[in-house]
């Protein structure tokens, strides 16, 4: 089922937590709502579920306006960060709950419910744990029970609110890959909320980034990662070096070096270029390209990556961060105090006043 949201605005008292949101989730898509805390992503998700009501705007499921439909009649699966399992019920009763509370005429028979529960236990790889109570399960298992419970009602959309937020790193990674596979198997239109950009880029087909109640950028994970559309996006997706400069006819001039850029910027504008640490390469000799001259001040190898801090030797004398692979680092035999040439492989440039906001 597709979801269309038009002009959704939400006010809590005087604060606007969502400002005129428009978006579409296509049938069968796995969409991530990504944003820092307070960006309004959870509120938006809860609105799709009917657990929260919009101050303005409409929500459509397959073209039907569900804005005023009660949560219990929307047929959505909702998975909470802290599982929200019914702790006094066995795992199998948790999963069967949605089927048992159906109206008599829609309710499956007892054997039907039982076989459905077993089928779901198998799907979430918890066969044989139906007789346990939630307190006897690990966090990852609990979340899989919660997922099975929400899938029992064969929801038209599946909504997950920071589903892996309470789990530790290892389980989290396993579960999110597993969610991806599960989504392929079931094909249910799925929306999940996360503040972890890695998670969103790893799992989703489409990503929508929210900040301050507004959509900042949307697109496929690779589009989002390759072309962040604002300083916020660069900063939110991971650390990036901020290089102040001026726009010229040839490109962007930073500390006397000009980086060729196809982005249109008016001649003479103050701009800030964002460069990711791993999108800088280092060399001992100047090539034909434009390089920033730097002095290595710190190296910090962590597993396969070496984090390097270097000081620019041009006018600004700012510190920049560079990440090299262990192999590249070893080949260059970098030492602290070395003068080197830093070549910027990729960057994004924005008006300096955008940056000021």
């Amino acid at each position: 089922m597709s979801i269309t949201i038009t002009g959704i605005t939400k006010e809590f008292g005087k604060t606007e937590v969502l400002k005129n949101i428009n978006l579409t989730v296509k049938e069968g898509e796995l969409l991530a709502l990504l944003g820092p805390s307070g960006s309004g992503k959870t509120t938006l998700l809860r609105m799709i579920a009917g657990l929260e009501h919009a101050s303005k705007g409409d929500i459509f499921f397959d073209g039907n306006n569900v804005t005023n439909v009660n949560a219990k009649d929307r047929n959505v699966g909702f998975v909470f960060q802290h599982y929200a399992l019914f702790s006094h019920m066995k795992v199998k009763d948790n999963i069967a709950y949605g089927l048992r509370v159906k109206k008599k005429k829609d309710r499956p028979t007892k054997p039907q419910i039982e076989s459905k529960v077993n089928e779901l236990l198998e799907l979430v790889k918890l066969d044989g744990l139906g007789e346990r109570y939630p307190s006897q399960l690990s966090g990852g298992q609990k979340q899989r029970v919660a997922l099975a419970r929400s899938l029992a009602i064969e929801p038209s959309v599946l909504l997950l609110d920071e589903p892996f937020g309470a789990l530790d790193a290892q389980v989290r990674k396993e579960l999110r890959r597993w969610l991806r596979t599960l989504h392929k198997q079931t094909g249910v239109t799925t929306v999940f909320v996360t503040h972890d950009q890695e998670e969103a880029l790893d799992v989703a087909d489409q990503v929508i980034v929210l900040n301050g109640g507004e959509i900042i950028q949307e697109g496929t994970p690779s589009h989002i990662y390759d072309s962040p559309n604002s300083p916020f996006m660069y900063r939110f997706l991971g650390n990036a070096n901020e290089l102040k400069g001026t726009a010229t006819k040839e490109g962007i001039s930073i500390g006397g070096v000009t980086l060729t850029s196809e982005e249109p910027h008016a001649d003479g504008d103050n701009v800030v270029s964002y460069v990711r640490p791993h999108e800088i390469s280092l060399a001992h000799t100047s090539g034909n390209d434009h390089h920033l001259e730097v002095e290595i001040t710190k190296t910090h190898p962590v597993g396969p990556i070496v984090f390097i801090e270097a000081k620019r030797l041009d006018g600004d004398r700012e510190q920049i961060e560079i990440e090299l692979t262990k192999g590249a680092y070893d080949n260059l035999s970098i030492k602290i105090g070395d003068m080197m040439y830093a070549r910027v492989e990729r960057f994004g440039t924005f008006q300096a006043n955008e940056y000021m906001i």
Binding site: A71, K72, F78, S87, I153
Partner: protein, 194 residues
């Protein structure tokens, strides 16, 4: 000290305290009651005055417990699952009987319903007696015990949050089913302590 040494010590002191302040007084009462033999005890509790006292106590329990359960549950539900204007005020109001001395509470009831009280003339005119009668006993008991159920349930329900209720809702259960299948089982231990 390791756990092995101080664990029995803690358990022992808890039992000592309970014995001194709870079990011993109870024991004394029973010893006193049976000191002149079972027959005297039986005679004493079956004489009309005693029977009336027992009946009155039971009546008060029968009236107040269901009422408190109903109101306490409603109040706790409203206070923990919803955010509304006046919520804080309601919490304070529920706490008042804890803060007010029972003597003052008694005085308040006399001022309100006594012969010279606020409603006194009207009550007299309508031939209704509250103070020094059964309604007075029930009213006073209700006042003193009002906070118990709500106070017991609020922290419990607060800690549980509304996630489970919301989960139930999205699974297609209405308000009543959610209350019966999810909220009530989760708080039943709170009720047992009442």
């Amino acid at each position: 000290m390791n756990t092995k040494t101080y664990k029995p010590l803690l358990i022992f002191s808890a039992f000592l305290f309970l014995t001194l302040f709870l079990l011993l007084p109870l024991l004394i009462i029973f010893i006193g009651a049976f000191s002149q033999g079972f027959e005297v005890f039986w005679y004493s509790i079956t004489e009309p005055a005693a029977r009336h006292a027992i009946f009155l106590t039971l009546l008060v329990v029968v009236v107040t417990v269901p009422l408190h359960t109903l109101f306490g549950l409603a109040a706790a539900w409203a206070l923990t699952k919803y955010r509304f204007r006046g919520r804080q005020l309601l919490i304070t109001l529920i706490e008042i009987p804890f803060a007010v001395s029972p003597v003052i509470a008694g005085l308040v009831f006399i001022i309100l319903y006594g012969v010279n009280g606020f409603f006194g003339e009207w009550l007299l005119a309508n031939n209704l007696q509250i103070i020094f009668a059964v309604p007075g006993i029930i009213l006073a008991t209700m006042f003193v015990t009002l906070p118990f159920i709500a106070r017991e349930l609020i922290p419990l329900m607060e800690a549980q949050g509304s996630d489970a209720e919301e989960a139930s809702l999205t699974l297609g259960a209405g308000g009543f089913r959610t209350f019966y299948h999810v909220t009530l089982p989760a708080i039943k231990w709170g009720f047992f302590t009442e």
